[in-house]
């Protein structure tokens, strides 16, 4: 495919295909693009592939979703189901629910495609989440990738929006219950809430407009935005180049790995089919969202075990954890004729608000604290950034407590415990969990660092016990080879940065706060073993041997 042209004679391809290829290439410059992209190097690590999983899931979502649009009718007009599922025969329902049932039971391959679409959606959000966790814990959000981290966060929110608008479409009892909760949350917003709800639903809940509106958002606006964000995200990945884990020969100035063409093109192409295969297998063998179980939406019944899909779960869980009244203290007020229901407003919006605010701001927070303005292309091992890792685990723990609370009733029935106790424990963990997680994680990270340092300095324990002639038993330590040692010593361990005066010679309050945070971040630190320390440790080892040798006049090891 390379278009080699020489200055002397114009290049003429020998074969028909060659001439055709050359014709196209001269006009679109494909070989240049291919040369550039084909040489892009990607480092190899399993944890780098979750973004890819999300991308492939999205492609599968587009394909299966297109199939579903051929048969789904987002109308809330009333009809009587005439399809082949007898337990719902002739039951009054919306056209939307009826057409979803028809997709499930009367369209060839429809149920499979519905399940492919829904499983792919769950995998899409799950892999997005894991990808973001990987990026956070390895410090890949640092300069120059802060903005791409934000794009990723926006993608997460869009994915949740896509999921929510999607699973509300079938107009079954479960999705209607979910919409009712969202309606309640919207209405709890002071002043504008009720107006917003009426605007959204075209009148009183549920109305006859909402499914059609969600449908337009679900198939048009949200996927278009996701696609746009994916393009920006990938463009920035190309501009920034991929990060890599620390290792010998890897620095912020290079990328060690395989080129895209042909190795990665083949691997990534194959991996798409693996992801597709896994999703297809799940869709074929495991049911998801069995809408026929739930029946048509009717505002009066609410089924036991009504939960949103997992990515909305933490909001639902927060709502479940919020007490209605504490002793005589209640959370509902009437202010100037407007009802202010804090027991809906607080849990629905505050935790999600905190999580996303911190998530979006974190790269700048850390940058401000560390005053680190350098580019980072080599990742941190999570243990080598103990405070950041602890913050991440604390946040994730907080999320998981709320997430678990969304399934509190199922936890109670599955483990035969009292639902009330589950709620009390989760309420306690809501406050204590993140704190405990922070302390434990930080200690574990520091302990692992000390272990690394110990191994770097004194080598690996071989388990071989040697008895010296004078009777002493020692365990022989095998020194590490240089490659392995590099991994244990080649990291940065920033020390706290004390407050410094600005150009006017004043230490501002902001700078003092920064210094305090810096101290909090870095005061507990295990510095990597320096060459001098390594030298000393080896000398010490020899020294020890010589000492014992002097006593026994015969030994070395």
């Amino acid at each position: 495919m390379s278009a080699a042209s020489t200055a002397e004679a114009p290049f003429v391809a020998k074969t028909k295909v060659g001439r055709f290829t050359d014709f196209v290439d001269e006009r679109v410059g494909g070989s240049g693009i291919l040369r550039e992209f084909g040489r892009k190097v990607f480092p190899d690590h399993w944890s780098f592939m979750f973004g890819e999983v999300a991308l492939y899931s999205f492609v599968i979502l587009l394909m299966s979703g297109t199939f579903l649009t051929f048969f789904f009718d987002p109308s809330m007009a009333e009809t009587h189901y005439q399809g082949s599922y007898t337990p719902l025969y002739n039951v009054e329902m919306s056209v939307a629910y009826s057409s979803s049932l028809n997709i499930s039971f009367d369209i060839r391959g429809g149920l499979f495609m519905r399940q492919v679409h829904h499983w792919a959606a769950l995998l899409f959000v799950a892999s997005l989440g894991v990808h973001m966790l990987r990026v956070f814990f390895t410090g890949a959000f640092r300069k120059p990738r802060e903005m791409n981290w934000v794009v990723g966060g926006v993608l997460l929110i869009l994915a949740m929006a896509a999921g929510f608008t999607g699973y509300s479409l079938p107009d079954d009892l479960l999705s209607g219950n979910g919409l009712r909760i969202i309606d309640g949350v919207v209405k709890s917003i002071p002043v504008i809430g009720t107006y917003t709800s009426f605007f959204l639903f075209g009148g009183e809940f549920p109305g006859t407009a909402i499914i059609g509106r969600l449908y337009v958002l679900h198939i048009l606006l949200v996927p278009a935005l996701i696609l746009l964000m994916i393009v920006i995200h990938l463009f920035m990945v190309v501009v920034h180049k991929h990060t890599q884990y620390p290792g010998p020969g890897r620095s912020d100035g290079n990328v060690v790995g395989y080129p895209l063409g042909p190795v990665y093109a083949a691997k990534a192409g194959g991996f798409f089919f693996i992801v597709f295969g896994v999703i297809a297998l799940m869709a074929a063998a495991f049911t998801i969202n069995p809408i026929w179980n739930y029946g048509p939406y009717d505002p009066s019944p609410v089924s036991a075990g009504t939960q949103p899909d997992f990515y909305i779960g933490f909001v639902d869980g927060a709502l479940r954890l919020m007490p209605g009244v504490i002793n005589d203290f209640h959370f509902e007020y009437v202010v100037f004729g407007y009802t202010l229901t804090l027991n809906v407003l607080l849990p629905a919006l505050v935790p999600a608000g905190i999580i996303f605010t911190v998530l979006f701001m974190y790269p700048w927070i850390e940058r401000w604290v560390t005053k680190d303005n350098r580019e980072h292309h080599v990742l941190d091992r999570p243990r080598n950034a103990p405070t950041r890792t602890a913050i991440g685990v604390a946040g994730f723990t907080w999320y998981c407590v709320m997430w678990a609370a969304a399934g509190s009733d199922l936890i109670a029935t599955a483990f035969h415990v009292s639902l009330n106790d589950v709620t009390y424990w989760l309420r306690t963990l809501f406050f204590l969990g993140p704190v405990l997680a922070f302390i434990v994680t930080k200690r574990v990270a520091l302990a692992l660092q000390r272990k690394d340092r110990e191994i770097a300095l004194h080598g690996r324990e071989t388990g071989r016990i040697v008895r010296l002639p004078h009777g002493e038993f020692i365990e022989v330590h095998a020194p590490l080879d240089e490659y392995k040692r590099y991994k244990l010593v080649g990291f940065e361990s920033p020390a706290p940065l004390p407050a410094v005066p600005n150009e006017h010679g004043v230490v501002t309050n902001k700078e003092k706060r920064r210094a305090a945070l810096s101290k909090w971040f870095f005061e507990d630190r295990v510095a990597p073993a320096t060459p001098a320390e390594l030298e000393a440790a080896h000398a010490h080892g020899h020294h020890e041997a010589i000492e014992s040798g002097e006593e026994q006049k015969s030994l070395s090891h």
């Binding site: 007898t86 992801v275 009504t306 509190s408």
Partner: protein, 262 residues
Amino acid sequence: MKALSQKRRHPLAAIALLLMGLLLTGGLYAVATTVNQAKADTTSFSANDAEEGGKLFAANCATCHGMGASGTKDGPSLVGVGAAAVDFQVGTGRMPMQMNGPQAEKKPKQFNDEQTHELSAYVASLGAGPAIPEEHLLDEKGDAANGGELFRVNCAMCHNAAAAGGALTRGKFAPALADVSGKHIYEAMVTGPQNMPVFNDSNVSPEGKRDIVTFLKTIEANGSPGGADLGALGPVAEGLFVWVAGLGVIIAFTIWLTSRTS
């Protein structure tokens, strides 16, 4: 009649009249409210059944429910609970109770069908109550679609829309309904065992109950059209599955794909 008219000014005449009036309205009310249940109460039970049942009761149940089923502080009176309640509680093994807990749980039953029948006869003989449903109400040939609507409106909030069960407060729960016989489902509706409310015949007509049983048996026989149902517990089970199995398999593949190099 003369004697009666002579005594009409007797000081106790007003009281006697009041008593008669109360008895009449009370009796009429009692007849009217029990008209939709317990008609066939003791018809299928012989005197011998009730007598044998009484012996079984004295030996196995009276510790908590008291002699003559009049109740103690450990167990309620069973006068008027009807044969259906006994048939349900004993027939599903919930009674005799193994231990005190949030609720009596289903366990292997302790009495055979004949003994259960005798116990039912005994309790039914103590006072009128819901009877064991007749065969034609349990033929599972009702309207499943109507039963589904009734189930979603009346039952799904505790038992889950797919009858997979759900949690109640303080360790109590509504059990899953798969593998529960139509008779026991029906009896549970008319007697309201544990924390379940009573759905008497004016709440849900006998035909409606027949439809509900039909619906439950239909979805049980249908199985899960979409593949393994993951417990029919909804999005929580699905989320858990995608995180553990879905992502687990994907991670195994990513490790495999990147394992050839390092």
